[in-house]
Symmetry: C2
Subunit: 226 residues, 2 copies
DNA sequence: TCCGAACATTAGCCTCATCTAACCCCATCT
DNA sequence: AGATGGGGTTAGATGAGGCTAATGTTCGGA
């Protein structure tokens, strides 16, 4: 094996997928483990082991003694590039092609690998250089600082508070559709009416309507106390 | 080997590329040979041999005794689908994202594999169901009849004729840029002033300007005598 | 009639990305 | 202490898609 050099690995779609997923897990403060990555990429754990070995050899990820996975500077730069394309595409699909916010994640998963730099710039410019995608996720700039900033989950807010939605996890398209139909999207302000104990729902008021959101839903909605 | 069934092959990007190239060569009336396909797909001839074997086994292409390659009904349907996405994307990139007609072929080569049916329909609808792409190539309908209709090349038109440009081959982006800068694009009407012999240029008049087009250029421009 | 060029195919090898089955390490519970 | 189980990894296989080098095959020209 020769000296570590990030350019020795092909920028295949698989590599981009793994990098984006690692970036996503890390950004949410979740443990970045072999099995977590396997689940997100939808492959078996040994497949991840093999890929991580290659990513490590190409200096894109680093691993501590305790199996801890993190992106190197190089790795993070690439991951942010893929994430930027992903989120720009999502925004584009909603704003220009009229798709709904629950449809775009799957589409963007494929398109993010097919967008050239030139195209990325055109899309960015047609959209007026957006800072956030339809789920409220911040779009990393082409170069420069970027923070993922996952704020408080709705599930952790006490009753009686007003809560401004900032981000909604884009993973679960059924959840997105459900929430969207009830007006729960970035920018919306909810009133947290009450919280049932023992994994029960959170009652929220959106405008005049009340909704009971189960723990799964309450966890995908993030924001701040307004 | 089991009975031939078109669905036994994965619809990978490579398969789509080969099908589209075979469709393109056949549509232009060019010989569809192993080496012609190899050149168009940018791979070595043995790679094409191997792929053709698979395509034949999946009933997507048929081959005569004399090595003649043709698409089956199934193969043609798939090829037309890929071609439709390719040309819709090209049109979209020009009309919505403001790319130039010499840039879009390369981009579409990647994007054509990443467009879902849903997305294809949205693009089609946003563009108002276009019938031709920016190079004048007809966009195959989602289903139904389609003809490729490569009419007369400019190189075969006698001096003294007026010539209406219908299609310009999208392969060579340098040629496209050169022609575009001189106003030679689908819809333009040229006057064929004179033809130099021995592979010399064709002199054409576009509006008030004259241009000498070498045999390569004169061959990529197709149309009809006006 | 024979020879060489052009073209297709076979043979043999490689990488990427995936799988299942088996194994190992370590923490925990009995 | 020993059994149990969860995660990670190794081993070994597979299929897609690509390569080069060698081997037909066929056809036109000398």
């Amino acid at each position: 094996m020769r000296p570590l050099n990030c350019c020795e690995i092909a920028h295949t779609e698989a590599v981009e997928d793994y990098l984006r997923v690692i970036f996503k897990l890390a950004g949410r403060g979740l443990p970045v483990t072999t099995s977590a990555v396997a689940e997100q990429v939808s492959v078996a754990p040994p497949t991840v082991s093999a890929m991580l070995k290659r990513l490590e050899a190409s200096n894109l990820v680093a691993r501590s003694a305790a199996h801890e996975i993190s992106l190197t500077t190089h790795g993070e730069r690439h991951a942010m590039g893929v994430t930027r394309r992903h989120r720009l595409v999502e925004t584009f699909l909603v704003q220009v092609l009229g798709l709904t916010w629950d449809e775009v994640h799957t589409e963007a998963d494929k398109l993010e690998h097919a967008i050239s730099d030139r195209l990325e710039d055109r899309i960015d410019s047609v959209l007026g250089h957006p800072t956030h995608d339809p789920h409220g996720d911040p779009i990393p700039p082409r170069s420069g600082r970027h923070v993922e900033a996952w704020s408080v989950p709705l599930g952790g807010v006490a009753a009686g508070n007003r809560f401004r939605v900032q981000r909604v996890a884009d993973d679960d398209s059924d959840a997105l559709r459900y929430l969207g139909e009830r007006g729960i999207r970035p920018g919306a302000v909810l009133e947290v009416v009450s919280r049932e104990p023992f994994g029960g729902p959170v009652w929220v008021k959106v405008g005049a309507r009340r909704h009971a959101l189960g723990p799964i839903l309450a966890d995908v909605v993030h924001g701040e106390i307004a």
